[in-house]
Every structure is written in structure tokens, then in C-alpha cells.
């Protein structure tokens, strides 16, 4: 069997091409609704519950999400499901308690660093804004690459140059409709993409399960150790206890404070809807993990039963494990439906890109450029700067995403670059909202501590038998711990002056 053999035909290309033009048309149509900055960034804070769920899912279920979760399933089997369970419980806990998101929505802010200024002053906002933009933009740096690999696997077109060109064209289309329609355009496209992608994913799962067989899915293939296939904390599983702890702190903090997701809570019509949004979305957070992992698991079972495919994924010149799922889907889905799945995945690619572009560009405008200017920037100037930032980030992504190869796996890269921002942000926002003694110095130490996470994508994290303290998961956990301790010690040793004076009085 040819490794890149596929059922993708001309009709599938037509479906994909027609589908990806729709968002651009929507962007042009809704431009008339954008009259002020809050319309552009938080859709005028007009989102009701169900549309908020659709747009949150549309954002957090991107092509890159499907790729890294499928890769986890392909490499680790059913034990990968634990990441989905942890994330779902964290999101549900946030939804039931309203932890962080309820109070942030009450404050009517548009970005997280806006809260830093409200609580700790302008300098902390600028530092926080720079670190957030840095972590966020680096985090989306490999989206294009993952998208190109998906396309290669599904279409069977193995010339990387042509596919990179195709992905670049798609990025340009995202730029056009995001620059024009802002959050209103993003919300409408997210809804459409939620519908197409969700139905496609459910039907795709039915095909995958029927191909492999329900019984075979829960029996470890002969090529892997049975214990590691099921148990995430067993020795040799590739996860372990430290990894599980890292996932708990990472997914909890990301659930509450990942700017693109939190932006949906801040766009909600009321704080109560912001809270409900998280409780309901816990199911879609579970689906965004488990369904792609299921595809990856089915792909591995399929590959392990096909000697030619198995040999392609083994040895020194083996294919990247990200190819496992798309190659499998390209062989089992019928033409026509494969085009619909590919269109749904492109939709996911676009819906994630648009939200992330909007998130990081609004952070640069609101939290870095505007606070640095002495005179107040008008809404018109801010809109212009935000739109220019969207284009600049897009150009950066083209260069970084198409030519940079990460030394670690896709999910590990995402987790570590996310930690750059999250370790500091989670500590600073939590302390700022719930601890009166939290000070500016403590906040700055916590934010700077997040930069330690960059060590987690260094070349020393790869290879066999590396000591535990050099692994990305250990560096990730320690970054959170150092940020947390930095906030406590910094606040106790260097309290804010106003509070010290109040204490003396």
C-alpha cells in the first residue's frame, strides 16, 4: 500500500475551495456593524450563551488542536485521554465556581493586561502585555506547519513547497476577513465552522471506529506495551506523574486565562453568561481532545496492521508522527466526505487563526502601544494599529511557521510556549483578584519568571535518557512554582507604598 495513497479527488478540492471563500464574504458584509473598538474586539459585549459556546469551541478547536491531539493518541494510545479528562474537569470547575472569569467580566475589561494596570499599575501592564504577546505569537508559530502536514497527508500531495504556498494563501484570506470584520466577523465564521466541523468530526469518528472495530480499539496492538497503552502514569508511557501535574496547572490556567478563550468570556453579555459558557463548554473541551485522539489511536492500530505503513513510521528516516492521522483518514473516508472533512479542518485552521490574530494584535495595541503613548489614542487610531498588527503578525507567522522546525513534539512546544505567558498571568491575576497583599514587585517577578519556560524548548530537552530536571514537563512545572513563589515573596518583602502608608496610619 502506497503511504500517501488517498481518496481525495477533484470534487474534494472544489468543496474545499468554495468553503474557504465564505468567511471572506462574511467579513465584507459585517464590516458595517463595526463602529467602535469594543465592537471590533469584544463584539460590543453582546454574545449570548449558545453563540458564545460555538465561538469558544470554534476558537479552541483548531486544526493544530486536532493535529497535536491526534499525535498524542498515535504515540501514546488510550493513555492520552487523561489530558482530556484533566482539561474538562478544570473547565467545569471554572464554570461552576466562576473562578477568575466572573470577576474579570464584571470589570468590563477587553484584555488580561488591562487588569494588570487596574490592579498593579501601568508598568506591570506593559511588561505583561509584552510577555503575553511574545508567548502567544510564538505559540501559534507552528500552526501553518501542522496545517501543511495535514494537507499533505489528506491530499496525498507530497510536495511541501506547493502546500506551503496553499497554506500561505489561506492565511492571507484569514487576514482579510479579520482585518475587516473584527470580532463580529470572527463570531459568525466560528459559528458556521463549529457546525461543519462538529458534524464532520462525529461522522469521521464513526468511519474510524467502523474501520478498526470497537473491540480492537480497546486492545493494545502487539507492537506496543499493554500497560503504557492504557495507563498514563506507568513507566515508559511517555507521560508520568510530573507530566500529569504539569497538565493540571497548565490546563486550569489556560482555561481561565488563555487570551483567545477568555476573550469569549469578556465578550459575553453578562458575567453570569461568562460563567455558564465555561460549564457548558466543558463537553466541547472534552471532545476537542478525545475525538482527535481517537482518530490518532485508530490510525496507529491501522498502521500497526499494515507492514508497509509501519515501516514508514519506524527507523531513522521515519515519517513525522503527525502524519499518522491524516494518512489514515485519507484512506478510509470516501471522496466527497473527505473534502468536507478537509474543509472543516481548514475552517478550524481559519477560526483559530482569526481569533489568535485578533487576540495578540489587540494586546499589542491596548496593552503596549496605547499605555506607552502619553496622549490618549482615539478609537480610530487604535483600530488602525490593531489592523496593522494583525498583518504584521501574519507576516511573522509565514516566516516562522514555514521554516522553523521545533526540537520537541508539537504539543510539548504548544505547552511550553503557552507557559511563558500562563505561569505569570495565572499567578498575577489570581493574586490580584483574591489576595489583598499582592504587590507590583511580586507581580513583575511572577511575570518575568514565566520567561523561564523558554528553556523547555531548548535542544537539551530532546534525546534518550535525559535527566528529569532537563525535561520540558519538569521545566514547565517549575516555572509555575517559581512564578507563584515569586509573587508571594516579592509581595511580602516589597509591599506597595500606598498600602504601607495606609498600614502606618
Amino acid at each position: 500500500m502506497d503511504v500517501f495513497a488517498t481518496n481525495f479527488r477533484t470534487v474534494d478540492w472544489i468543496i474545499v475551495c468554495v468553503y474557504i471563500c465564505i468567511p471572506v464574504v462574511i467579513g465584507i458584509i459585517v464590516k458595517k456593524y463595526i463602529r467602535q473598538l469594543s465592537d471590533f474586539i469584544v463584539a460590543g459585549r453582546s454574545l449570548k450563551l449558545f453563540i458564545a459556546i460555538a465561538t469558544l469551541t470554534g476558537t479552541e478547536l483548531g486544526l493544530v488542536t486536532v493535529m497535536y491531539n491526534a499525535e498524542l493518541g498515535f504515540k501514546h494510545g488510550l493513555s492520552a485521554f487523561h489530558v482530556g479528562i484533566i482539561e474538562t474537569l478544570c473547565i467545569l470547575a471554572i464554570g461552576l465556581t466562576g473562578f477568575i472569569v466572573y470577576k474579570l467580566r464584571e470589570l468590563r475589561i477587553m484584555t488580561i493586561p488591562e487588569f494588570y494596570e487596574m490592579r498593579f499599575g501601568r508598568n506591570v501592564r506593559i511588561v505583561g502585555g509584552i510577555i503575553l504577546a511574545l508567548g502567544g505569537i510564538l505559540n501559534m508559530g507552528l500552526f501553518l506547519q501542522a496545517g501543511a502536514r495535514f494537507m499533505m497527508g489528506v491530499t496525498g500531495y507530497s510536495n511541501p513547497a506547493g502546500l506551503k504556498l496553499f497554506m500561505s494563501v489561506m492565511l492571507i484570506m484569514v487576514l482579510i476577513y479579520t482585518v475587516m470584520g473584527g470580532m463580529v466577523s470572527v463570531v459568525l465564521n466560528d459559528f458556521m465552522q463549529f457546525v461543519v466541523l462538529s458534524i464532520g468530526m462525529l461522522i469521521g469518528s464513526a468511519f474510524a471506529i467502523s474501520k478498526i472495530g470497537w473491540g480492537n480499539l480497546f486492545a493494545a496492538p502487539s507492537t506496543v506495551d499493554s500497560a503504557t497503552w492504557f495507563n498514563p502514569v506507568s513507566e515508559g508511557s511517555g507521560f508520568g506523574t510530573i507530566y500529569v501535574i504539569f497538565m493540571v496547572v497548565l490546563t486550569f490556567s489556560a482555561g481561565a486565562l488563555w487570551q483567545s478563550g477568555t476573550l469569549r468570556a469578556l465578550s459575553a453579555k453578562t458575567p453570569k453568561i461568562a460563567k455558564q459558557l465555561y460549564a457548558w463548554s466543558s463537553v466541547s473541551y472534552l471532545a476537542r481532545r478525545v475525538i482527535p485522539m481517537l482518530w490518532g489511536i485508530c490510525a496507529f492500530v491501522f498502521v500497526s496492521q499494515t507492514p508497509k505503513l509501519l515501516s514508514a513510521f519506524q527507523g531513522p528516516d521515519s515519517l513525522n508522527s503527525q502524519f499518522g492521522m491524516p494518512i489514515f483518514m485519507a484512506k478510509i473516508l470516501p471522496s466527497g466526505f473527505l473534502g468536507l472533512i478537509a474543509a472543516g479542518m481548514f475552517a478550524a485552521f481559519m477560526s483559530t487563526h482569526d481569533s489568535y490574530l485578533l487576540s495578540w494584535s489587540s494586546v499589542i495595541t491596548q496593552d503596549i502601544v496605547a499605555p506607552l503613548k502619553r496622549e490618549r489614542l482615539s478609537d480610530k487610531s487604535r483600530l488602525l494599529i490593531t489592523r496593522i498588527c494583525i498583518v504584521c503578525i501574519g507576516l511573522f507567522l509565514l516566516i516562522w511557521g514555514l521554516w522553523f522546525e521545533a526540537p520537541v513534539s508539537l504539543w510539548n512546544y504548544m505547552a511550553v510556549t503557552g507557559t511563558i505567558y500562563l505561569a505569570g498571568a495565572f499567578t498575577v491575576v489570581t493574586a490580584g483578584l483574591y489576595w489583598k497583599k499582592a504587590s507590583k514587585t511580586g507581580a513583575k517577578i511572577a511575570l518575568y519568571a514565566g520567561l523561564l519556560a523558554i528553556l523547555g524548548i531548548g535542544p537539551w530537552t530532546t534525546g534518550e535518557n535525559i535527566p528529569f530536571y532537563l525535561t520540558d514537563k519538569f521545566i514547565g512545572v517549575m516555572t509555575f512554582l517559581i512564578a507563584f513563589l515569586g509573587m508571594i515573596i516579592g509581595s511580602l518583602l516589597f509591599p506597595d507604598e500606598s498600602k504601607t502608608e495606609e498600614g502606618k496610619k
Binding site: 456593524y33 453582546s46 449558545f50 488510550l78 463570531v187 463549529f194 469518528s205 463537553v283 471532545a287
Partner: protein, 47 residues
């Protein structure tokens, strides 16, 4: 601990739970979009 049974339960819950959520969101979301566009055409607030 029976990991196989646990993951089987997780998979079944995910597929059925998500299918139900998708149906609810499609109908509820369409109505929400109409309301959102109506809100955005009202006079601007002071944000």
C-alpha cells in the same frame, strides 16, 4: 484499576454528549446571532 473500562466510558460519553451539545448549540446559536446583530445596530454605548 480497569483503565480499559474507564476509557471506554469516556469515549462513549464524549461522542454522545458532544452530539447533543452540537444540536442544542445549532438551534440556540442561530437565534443568538439574530439578537447580536440587532444589538449592534442600536446606538453605541459609552465603552
Amino acid at each position: 484499576m480497569n483503565w480499559g473500562l474507564l476509557w471506554k466510558g469516556v469515549l462513549v460519553f464524549t461522542l454522545f454528549g458532544y452530539a447533543l451539545l452540537v444540536i442544542v448549540v445549532i438551534f440556540g446559536g442561530a437565534k443568538n446571532i439574530v439578537d447580536m446583530l440587532r444589538d449592534l445596530t442600536k446606538p453605541a454605548d459609552q465603552d
